[in-house]
């Protein structure tokens, strides 16, 4: 579909001579590190950016798109990670709006016709959503599926998925990808950008890997192992050391004690975190695990007590109380909870510890420089707005901001969501270094492998049952089975 496409922004070449094709009925996965040109490629394929060199071909014909509307008319549909739906409308109204009101009779909109039509569309694609529901009440997976249905409704023959499953837990991601597979089997051509290698193995027919704007691998999925894909994605300079969790020792002194922590969906939970350990939490959403990190760190009000650094806070406590007890939170949603997009890297890193840097510009500069160096933030410019960084680099800044406050216990809530493998290794190396120095970390992750790789101990939460503890977990399948037991 694309032939020798090149796009440069000023002196930076984002995409260099990429040739890539998708056949009808095929799912073609594209993997690549953050900043490898995936997003730029998508923007070229959908007519957002024009290419500097090369051609776009559809059914063998050269296309000349100057806007997203052109590509959509030609039958290229795109679904992004945060599927944009109008929150306050019902699914039917929203689908009608996005389709250009096909159900309208002259000047009057018919809610009933829209509802019937939308429901038919959803049923046709086996999307388990009621057209009368408000968009704001849909789960992320449902939103993604509705968006897919909308794209089909618009007559798309080529579907481009931009990390659609990145924010979804495994089971919901599977639901969405099963729909994608069905669409492909009906003759749709699918180009799927993803960071999850297991998804590639299970759903893609072909795999391509981008590195630094170049296509470094392309072939049938079965021919390449996950390790080889990661190898392709890593930048060439220097092999990355794999961080193992060492001997997985049970730690030293107790840093924080949590008693009967409970929230809207979380049943009372008590645990201790010891110096030198990474404690993992696993569980399906109905065990209330989604709120756990926020509850711990005071982002949403809960009950129970939190003891740390000689202080005890009774719930509901505020984030500043949690900080005084030694906690720091690297949240799931980068830009809503993690960083101020409009502010610079420096201002973001310095935010939690303003008082420490009052009239100490040099100390602040040194801290920011350390963060940038340790986590390899790119571009390494402290004066750049965080909103201008790629997602993975934003996440590095957020992690660095909290590492710089020297917390006793770092709470990581799905910290590598949408972050490329090389950056993940670096982030975990930084966390492990602090933990070995006598701090501790709590890890929540939608990826079971991550828990077994990095955690010394995992607590498995299940609704209506006491948490089960796994010491030195090493078998992801076993852990996943435990999570699913009701």
């Amino acid at each position: 579909m694309a032939r020798g496409v090149t796009k440069a922004f000023g002196p930076t070449v984002a995409v260099a001579g990429i040739t890539l094709g998708v056949r009808a009925g095929e799912v073609h996965a594209v993997a690549g590190a953050n900043g490898s040109g995936k997003s730029t490629l998508i923007k070229i394929l959908t007519g957002v950016h024009g290419q500097d060199e090369g051609d776009l071909l559809l059914d063998g014909e050269v296309q000349n798109w100057s806007s997203p509307a052109d590509s959509r008319r030609a039958g290229v549909g795109v679904v992004h990670q945060e599927a944009p739906l109008v929150e306050k409308l019902t699914v039917a109204e929203c689908v009608d709006l996005l389709g250009g009101y096909p159900s309208a009779k002259q000047f009057f909109l018919s809610n009933k016709a829209a509802r019937v039509r939308t429901q038919k569309l959803l049923d046709e694609h086996e999307v388990p959503v009621d057209a009368r529901e408000l968009c704001s009440s849909l789960s992320p997976a449902e939103r993604a599926m509705v968006s897919l249905a909308v794209a089909m409704d618009q007559g798309s023959r080529v579907l481009i998925l931009d990390e659609v499953t990145a924010a979804l837990p495994q089971d919901e991601a599977d639901q969405v990808l099963a729909l994608v597979r069905r669409l492909a089997d009906r003759g749709c051509a699918v180009l799927m950008i993803t960071h999850r290698l297991d998804e590639i193995e299970r759903y893609a027919d072909r795999t391509s890997v981008l590195t630094a704007g170049r296509l470094v691998y392309s072939g049938a999925t079965g021919e390449i192992s996950a390790e080889q894909i990661i190898e392709h994605m890593l930048p060439e300079e220097g092999a990355q050391e794999i961080v193992s969790s060492g001997e997985k020792t049970a730690g030293g002194q107790v840093l924080i004690t949590v008693r009967d922590l409970a929230g809207q969906r979380l049943a009372p939970l008590s645990f201790e975190v010891r110096a030198g350990e990474i404690l993992g939490f696993a569980g399906l959403p109905d065990a209330g695990i989604d709120d756990l990190a926020m509850l711990l760190c005071g982002g949403v009000p809960g009950t129970g007590t939190l003891t740390g650094r000689g202080r005890t806070a009774n719930g509901p406590w505020t984030p500043s109380a949690a900080r005084r007890a030694g906690l720091a939170l690297v949240p799931r949603d980068r830009l809503t909870n993690g960083a101020v997009a409009l502010m610079t890297i420096t201002d973001n890193v310095a935010l939690p510890d303003q008082r420490r840097y009052w009239h100490r510009t040099r100390a602040r500069r040194a801290t920011v420089r350390d963060v940038i160096t340790e986590l390899d933030v790119r571009p390494a410019d402290p004066g750049l707005s965080v909103g201008n960084l790629s997602g993975g680099n934003q996440q590095k800044v957020i992690l660095g901001k909290w590492l710089a406050t020297r917390p006793d216990v770092l709470v990581l809530d799905d910290p590598t969501n949408g972050v490329d493998p090389a950056a993940r290794l670096r982030m975990f190396a930084a966390v492990r270094a602090r933990v070995d120095d006598g701090a501790a970390a709590i890890l929540l992750s939608s990826e079971v492998e991550q828990l077994t790789t990095y955690c010394d101990r995992v607590l498995v939460l299940r609704p209506g049952r006491p948490a089960e503890e796994l010491t030195a977990p090493d078998n992801p399948t076993h852990l996943a089975r435990l999570m699913a037991q009701q």
Partner: protein, 340 residues
């Protein structure tokens, strides 16, 4: 609202910027022009008007030009604080009117002058704090809360004066409002003092950094341990305090308090604040930007009226200046973003 940046930068930036030094130089020149466009425009206007009419570059003209802008400048500095934390304060105009009326009324009641000034200040802060509490704790949109507060204040102003003009003004305020020190009006000195304090507070203290962070993302600031509620109330309170100061000078300059005083200062103050966003620290409400914006508008008006243009040209100039500056800033930031 006026946070003008470019977030839609492609991933390309994430890779190392390997720009040759030549284009980097051009890049910095671009930033300089972008950041200081208004300063340059101000200088151009001053030179232009000086050449066009001999009456412009006289001491007398400059003195009156600066004095006439002192109260508006204070009002602009006042609205800066709520704007920085992402809120509006529409009550400042009415609040000024009420404070001035309160001062005149208490003078008529033979209160001692220090008590009068204290009462004005306390009331100003009180109004600001109530605005903040309504917004933060009762979760009323600040636009609505402060509008309601403003209307209530206008009623109180009428009640206090019984609809009449009060000419009882403390002598100290008349001296301050009309007197000069070192050839510069007291009012202008006061603006400078307030501006310097605000600048220091906003740019060089943890308080300022936290206020900006709240404006950028209240949730992120909250999770970083900032007591966001307290700081938002503080922002409204500071606005109230500065408005009270502005009311003292307004009362002194006018020599009387009229029930209709104040509301007409609201829009010029906001226009200057928005205009200021485009200068010095583009995308952020900032003190030097606001000062340059006020000077720019004042010089433009003053020069044009000396040249004898029709009376309706002034608001036209102000409106166009605001729109063009914001448009220019947006274009410049987009171009810079693309070039990087």
């Amino acid at each position: 609202m006026a946070q003008i940046t470019n977030v839609e930068r492609p991933e390309a930036v994430a890779k190392e910027a390997t720009a040759p030094s030549g284009s980097q130089l051009g890049h910095f020149a671009g930033i300089a022009i972008h950041k200081y466009a208004q300063v340059i425009l101000l200088v151009v206007l001053v030179i232009g008007f000086s050449l066009a009419t001999p009456r412009f570059a006289t001491q007398q003209n400059w003195t009156s030009l600066l004095v006439s802008q002192a109260v508006v400048a204070m009002m602009t500095l006042a609205v800066l604080f709520p704007l920085i934390v992402g809120e509006f304060d529409l009550s400042v105009g009415y609040s000024l009117g009420f404070s001035a009326m309160l001062g005149a009324y208490l003078t008529g009641q033979n209160w001692p002058v220090p008590m009068i000034l204290l009462a004005m200040l306390v009331f100003g802060v009180f109004i600001g704090v109530v605005n903040g509490v309504l917004n933060v704790y009762f979760k009323i949109n600040s636009f609505i809360a402060t509008l309601g507060m403003g209307i209530i204040l206008s009623a109180l102003t009428l009640a206090l004066s019984n609809g009449a003009i009060l000419t009882t003004v403390p002598g100290v305020l008349e001296t301050l409002g009309r007197g000069y020190v070192g050839g510069i009006a007291w009012a202008v000195w006061a603006v400078l003092l307030i501006a310097v304090v605000c600048y220091y507070l906003l740019q060089h203290t943890p308080v300022g950094a936290r206020l900006y962070a709240i404006g950028g993302s209240e949730r992120v600031a909250f999770l970083a341990g900032v007591r966001t509620s307290w700081y938002k109330v503080l922002a409204f309170g500071l606005a109230g305090a500065i408005v009270a100061g502005a009311a003292m000078f307004q009362l002194g300059q006018a020599g009387s308090a009229t029930p209709s005083m104040g509301p007409d200062l609201l829009l010029p103050a906001y226009a200057a604040a928005f205009l200021g966003v485009t200068t010095f620290r583009p995308g952020f409400y900032n003190v030097p930007g606001v000062i340059v914006a006020i000077l720019l508008l004042a010089v433009g008006f003053n020069g044009l009226s000396l040249l004898g243009v029709p009376f309706w040209v002034q608001p036209m100039f102000n409106g166009l200046a605001l729109l063009i500056a914001v448009l220019f800033a947006r274009l410049a930031s987009r171009r810079l973003g693309a070039a990087k």
